[in-house]
Symmetry: C2
Subunit: 434 residues, 2 copies
């Protein structure tokens, strides 16, 4: 006999047992439903893109990517011309540029797919992971309205999914920082952004050191440190920033956008947990206006749940049409992990079955008809077709955590959790919603 | 300015516009719902498997596969140890062998995922395609009941999806042919199966020629040709086969299984379009009992929509546990293409939106609240946030084929198909179900 191949997991490629997959499906359904309620369409792109497309996004040339080869291509005739996408932004850019003539703008889409990073396996780093993106793309221009709509929808999704956990939306606008720098006659704001970005991690004094190394004087440093520590849950940030005495048109515009965005999100949801946080940066060369991050409040879990922002031009390397957009991304895999860790979602049932019909009759026709009857009324119903000892049949229901068992012999219905038994009518009985 | 990258499609990797994707989602939802109604759980496996696993399925060593490399691995340090799965059977075998201790048997799962074949592009050949598999796997043994359940469910799915097209299930059992050969003292039935398999393509006389070349005498050839042309929509095939005068235990067993399977499928659905067809083979070294194929009846579309059968041991290369199973597979991509070609599904709307709220008021709060109200009642509602000329707003609704437009100013509701206008109450109005 041939030696056995050991069926082991591959690091970085997570795989779920049915009970976890059931929970994941529930999460995906919730996300999808809210996006569709707001009128966003779904798209999927091939997992494979041309390498030149994958390499087109500035700053990503060092991303670890997987490239494809053909097993039969023994001679290496073909170079690796294709790779697996590592995010959903690059495919979106290619999609919109390619199908521009067939899309209606503003183009509102969500996309839930796996992405791939060819990284060496590390703790908590996935090489295949499920990601969810939502964006609105305009042609030539895009209303500021969408800078509020997108985070409002994502907040609705994450509030719904996280249940009793408290989420908050952090909000800023890159024009404020850029305008602030311009007002101080600083030409390249990027090193300052990089330093301010670390304020949560290394604290204000750490940032002060970094800004000192950049050669800024202590008065300027104090201005940035004050700015970077402004956090308000109302529009009082405007007065606080104006009190710093910097005057600049771009700064003014950024403040106006930020006020608009804050107020509009509150129009969607008056109790939306929004914090304007001037230390929020999110990437250095991509976003040009609003930036967002969603995170937990009052929790040990400090990582962001998702984020995004406004960008000026989605696909400048692929089309001459200017395609401004605003979007957010969040990791389904990471969110699912969090929800299970925190006990918000509990993987339990091993299948979507609500009722198991056990077989005590000689004949199977009765149980087959009963199953049909229940299914026609929308109840997920499995038949224990093998029959045999009742004890064995009940054990199967227990093992799979099936909530109800129905005896085909006399319509006895057993609630497997409480042990309660009733005589049920298959034309009217409905399971508790769980 | 850098030269533009042309955003072109990659042959063999299909990509849908939103209107087609919407139709695909509807198809996927229908399939999923029926599987879950019958109590099957969903699993997903990573798209990536170890090469040794991918190569473990007998007869598949010549499959064109994609292997993965890392872009950063400039020196080719790592050999290609991983590849993309080319079907969902090999991943299922690895999954069940790996998680054997955590699964409840019989393990009933469905799986809808993309598969990949590294073929050179050809007309109608996809290199990435969506596939759907449903299987029941037993540990050590598996009741014959599942040989009827699986095709009954798949028939239900395909009848539901294809609407007014007529589908039929073709049914056979490999034991009948194997037993028939054994009764004729033919040791290796495979070449005969290969010949009989072509009966539809090359006709009985073509098969006669091939069987003659195998050295069979004309009496034996006539027996096989008669057998291969038996097609019944009831159990009269038993008498017809018995009339051929071959006696063999395996043949007897095969006939009993076939009768059981036929009758049981009728027990699930008395009007199920089932044809016992002894020319049906489906692969040569994998299936050991029941075999199935679903195809259209009275149609120019001659390809099968799906098929499958019973196998003795799913994962003999990966575990010592015997894992008998029965399953079917069908191509979502192919089915979708057929349904659209035949006008059963009509890609039309560009988004899931049911109502577009147009903005005629100065203020946006009224439309925002209206949208919230409709969404809370389960209606997919988009807001035309940019406002502006009504004509432009209506054109947007038209372009996206949105069925209803709601005027925020006075609750006028316009049916975009009929042109009819009414005054609607947002607390009670519901769209027609479409």
């Amino acid at each position: 006999m041939a030696p056995l191949i050991k069926p082991t997991p591959i690091t970085g490629f997570p795989e779920f047992l049915p009970e976890m997959r059931l929970v994941e499906q529930h999460l995906l359904d919730t996300v999808r439903q809210i996006f569709e309620r707001h009128g966003f369409c779904s798209i999927e792109t091939p997992l494979v893109e041309r390498l030149e497309v994958l390499l087109s996004k500035s700053g990503d040339s060092d991303k670890e990517m997987y490239v494809l080869g053909r097993l039969q291509d023994k001679k290496g005739e073909e170079e690796a011309r294709y790779g697996l996408h590592y995010d959903l932004t690059v495919p979106l850019a290619r999609y919109v540029a390619q199908h521009e003539q067939d899309l209606t703008f503003p183009f509102k889409r969500y996309q839930i797919q796996d992405s791939f990073r060819g990284e060496r396996p590390k703790m908590g780093r996935y090489r295949q992971f499920k990601q969810c993106d939502i964006d609105v793309i305009g042609r030539e221009n895009l209303s500021l309205e969408y800078d509020a709509l997108i985070p409002a929808i994502v907040l609705e999704v994450l509030q719904k999914c996280t249940g009793m956990l408290e989420v908050e939306l952090r909000l800023s606008n890159r024009k404020v920082l850029a305008g602030f720098c311009a007002g101080l006659e600083i030409e390249d704001p990027t090193p300052i952004l990089r330093a301010l970005d670390k304020i949560l991690k290394i604290g204000p004094e750490g940032v002060r050191e970094e800004l000192t190394e950049l050669g800024l004087n202590s008065k300027t440093i104090n201005l940035f440190l004050t700015l970077g520590q402004i956090k308000t849950e109302d529009t009082s940030f405007v007065d606080k920033i104006k009190a710093l005495g910097i005057k600049n048109d771009l700064l003014e515009m950024g403040l106006n956008e930020l006020v608009f965005c804050f107020n509009r999100i509150k129009a969607y949801n008056p109790s939306a947990p929004v914090v304007v946080d001037l230390s929020l940066i999110r990437g250095f060369d991509y976003y040009t206006g609003s930036v967002y991050e969603v995170a937990l409040r009052n929790s040990d879990f400090k990582d962001s749940l998702g984020g995004g922002g406004r960008y000026d031009n989605l696909a400048s390397t692929m089309t001459k049409t200017k395609l401004p957009g605003v979007g957010m991304t969040f990791g389904i895999s990471r969110l699912l992990g969090l929800l299970v860790d925190q006990g918000i979602m509990r993987p339990n049932r091993k299948s979507p079955v609500q009722v198991l019909v056990v077989n005590l009759e000689e004949d199977k026709q009765k149980m087959i008809d009963l199953g049909k009857q229940l299914r026609a009324r929308g109840i997920n119903t499995e038949l224990y077709l093998e029959g045999g000892k009742l004890q064995k049949q009940l054990k199967y229901a227990n093992d799979k955590k099936i909530p109800y068992v129905w005896f085909d012999s006399d319509n006895t219905l057993k609630n497997m959790e409480t042990g309660e038994q009733i005589i049920a009518d298959p034309t009217t009985w409905m399971p508790d919603n769980k």
